[in-house]
């Protein structure tokens, strides 16, 4: 009995003399960063920036590293700083637009294959210099990174139509899905501001364009959230609130025309025009104006996706049915590109009341 046990022990000793568990997660000795900001560096390198959160009573520190490989950043960081970097709390990946144009999928793959990183990591594109923003803002706002994360989380949770918020899994699922293309939120950053710019569009995994703030509203209504807390239409001097949409997309059998019927329900939040909207016929005319405005805008949005030959609106998904074998992505996009688009809005507005 004893001999057998000792044989076992000897075996184990031979199988490895080092400590079996080399991870060390003592809080005072680690730096659990919450975001990586990636930018183009000099000579084909990456520039990685992050804020080190304070564990004890100390100041946050900004680190910028020039590396060839993403994960090299972790190593360089450890060699430079007295705490070990850990990715377990990574919540945001902020990628510069210029870098995204060159490559995005290899970056995301690297992050995806790390078991420490949650697939709920938020992906964000940035136009301008996020580094400058960090540099300035962290003097004013102590918990900057945390509040940024809370902002994304806030808009993600209820899908209230303010922003397109996309996480790692959603992005990858759409990259592989033949009938939909991924989108990412894009922000503009400079020394003083970090502002939502709209939705960045991808063709499978290539960054190809964006919807600006105005187009983005239509995008939220017909594809992303189907809800807008606030829809200002300056052109008609009106602002709608709590807008909920119901979208019916129908493609005919020959794939020649696409009918989009959007049922919209909302209320007037604000009106600064000259119509007396308390009057019913005036109100009807007003509704009609809103309808034709939205139709124009939406048709423009769909045309833009046709021009770029991409599918952020997931029109193709509406052609799928349980019993028909689907066509390939390329075939579908060839049809989609040439499709005639009819957009119809039925707007129902609760009258302004006190």
């Amino acid at each position: 009995m004893k001999t057998l046990l000792s044989i076992l022990c000897i075996l184990l000793v031979f199988s490895g003399c080092s400590s079996p568990y080399v991870e060390n997660n003592t809080v005072e000795e680690i730096a659990p960063v919450t975001f990586w900001s990636l930018n183009q560096g000099e000579g084909g390198k990456f520039k990685i920036t992050t804020l080190v959160p304070p564990v004890t009573d100390e100041k946050k520190r900004l680190f910028t590293l020039n590396v060839d490989l993403l994960k090299q950043g972790k190593k360089e960081f450890n060699l430079k700083f007295y705490r070990e970097l850990k990715n377990g709390q990574l919540r945001m990946l902020i990628i510069n637009e210029k870098l995204a144009k060159k490559e995005i999928i290899s970056l995301i793959d690297t992050i995806l294959s790390d078991p420490d990183v949650s697939p709920r990591l938020f992906l964000v594109l940035v136009r301008g210099s996020f580094e400058d923003f960090l540099e300035e803002e962290r003097k004013v706002q102590k918990n900057l990174d945390y509040y940024l994360y809370r902002m994304f989380r806030h808009y993600e949770r209820r899908n209230q139509g303010e922003m397109s918020i996309v996480n790692l899994h959603e992005f990858m699922e759409k990259v592989y899905s033949p009938y939909s293309d991924p989108v990412l939120p894009i922000f503009k950053a400079d020394k003083d501001n970090f502002t939502y710019e709209g939705t960045a569009l991808f063709n499978e995994n290539k960054y190809v364009g964006l919807f600006n703030k105005r187009e983005d509203q239509m995008f939220q209504l017909i594809a992303n959230d189907h809800y807008l807390k606030n829809l200002p239409i300056p052109h008609l001097n009106v602002s709608l609130g709590q807008v909920r949409s119901k979208v019916h997309m129908q493609v005919d059998d020959q794939f020649k025309t696409l009918n989009i019927h959007v049922k919209l329900k909302g209320r007037i939040d604000e009106y600064r025009g000259h119509r007396n909207i308390l009057d019913r016929s005036e109100m009807n005319r007003m509704t009609h104006d809103i309808e034709s405005y939205l139709q124009r805008e939406t048709a423009g949005l769909v045309k833009e996706t046709q021009r770029l030959k991409i599918e952020p609106l997931e029109v193709g998904a509406h052609t799928l049915s349980p019993l028909v074998h689907p066509m390939t992505r390329r075939e579908w996009l060839d049809h989609y590109e040439k499709m005639k688009v009819h957009v119809k809005y039925s707007v129902k507005i609760e009258p302004l009341s006190l």
Binding site: L11, E173, S177
Partner: protein, 373 residues
């Protein structure tokens, strides 16, 4: 000391509840975790159902033996049915089947733990911990080990509720379930079906547990419910994976089920996957212990020591041998990251073959014996 070490004593007979739990957990072992990746297409839902029905028919055939008098007698029943020489030959084969099954299950589980929980840990330590706990459970004796089935079932069955969010809108995408009809049936699809069949294998090992379970009228009912529940769980897992990934993406993921759970977040504990992986250990350990006991029994039969009392030395020796085999395979032949490596493929075929042959061979033998007498 060794006189009190009795592994194969019998003081009570375990009813259909234990059989149900045992069959169900046996069928949820390891393969189900990698299965969705190989089924891929939505129409394989029908495949799972179809193979589930076949498995039920197979259990009916197995029931022929389980309701006969030979079964209750255990080893002596086998000897009556076949000759002693044949039984020794079968036991000899069985050693290899069980050995491969234990090895693949343990190493597969260790690989998952290594990849998701302790990437920096040496795998031999993980194997050691698993084998040591398996040995401890098994050394409590066959009866107590079988009793553990209900506990391991109750401790892990609720995990199925965790998959509910994957069926609800923000995560699920309904169009991933289309089309439901196959376009062309490729070799890959047939391989997927084989995999389902092999994943459902395991209940054939109940033939080794004759003296401990009964009454014989209730065995088949327990097995059938267990099988039905497994098929249901397979479906839930597969559909959840489809809704979450969609077919094209699903193909690229090595451990779809575990990766899928990583998406969940609880406000209390963020990495839900770690809890669930650890929970799986309960029934993995239980089954490893059960198979170690079967293995030891088979070794005793082959060595012709069936009538000699069990002793701790012999059992520890055979467990240590299994452990060493595992270390060798893990060190030299197990290619991590490639989830269908040589050994997993081997077990895939062996499991399918034993599940297909054991019930029918026994049924034929009984018929033949009856014709003789």
């Amino acid at each position: 000391m060794s006189s009190r070490f009795r592994l194969f004593d019998r003081t009570a007979v375990m009813g259909s509840g234990y059989i149900f739990a045992m069959v169900n957990r046996m069928q949820m072992l390891y393969y189900v975790l990698i299965l969705p990746k190989h089924l891929v297409h939505p129409y394989m839902m029908a495949g799972i159902l179809g193979v589930g029905v076949l498995s039920q028919i197979n259990l009916l055939i197995l029931g022929k033996y389980l309701t006969s008098n030979y079964f209750v007698l255990g080893y002596r029943g086998f000897v009556q049915l076949f000759s002693e020489k044949m039984v020794r030959f079968f036991a000899f084969l069985g050693i290899f089947f069980i050995l491969i099954k234990v090895i693949v299950t343990t190493l597969g589980y260790v690989e998952i733990v290594h990849q998701f929980m302790f990437p920096s840990m040496k795998t031999s330590w993980l194997i050691f911990v698993l084998m040591a706990s398996g040995f401890y459970i098994a050394s409590q004796g066959m009866e107590k080990t079988i009793r553990l089935s209900i506990i391991s079932f109750l401790a892990t069955i609720w995990v199925i509720l965790v998959y509910i969010p994957y069926f609800l809108p923000p995560i699920s995408q309904t169009h991933h379930l289309y089309p439901l009809v196959p376009g062309e049936v490729s070799l890959h699809s047939w391989y997927g079906l084989l995999m389902v069949w092999s994943a459902l294998s395991g209940p054939e090992y109940i033939v080794c547990l004759g003296p401990w379970i009964g009454p014989k009228e209730k065995i088949l009912r327990g097995m059938s419910i267990g099988n039905a529940l497994s098929v249901f769980e397979y479906l839930v897992l597969f559909v959840a994976c489809l809704l979450y990934y969609g077919s094209p993406y699903l193909q690229k993921i090595s451990f779809p089920v575990v990766n899928m759970i990583r998406y969940l977040q609880s406000p209390v504990f963020e990495r839900v996957d770690l809890i669930l992986i650890s929970l799986n250990m309960i029934y993995f350990l239980y089954l490893i212990a059960l198979f170690l006991l079967c293995l030891y029994g088979a070794i005793r039969i082959v060595a012709g020591r069936i009538n000699i009392k069990t002793n701790r030395k012999g059992f520890l020796g055979s467990v240590a041998a299994v452990f060493i085999c595992m270390l060798i395979i893990n060190g030299w032949y197990w290619r991590e990251g490639e989830e269908l490596n040589l050994w997993v493929t081997l077990q895939l075929w062996l499991g399918a073959i034993t599940y297909l042959l054991v019930p029918s061979v026994l049924a034929v033998a009984i018929k033949w014996k009856r014709g003789q007498s």
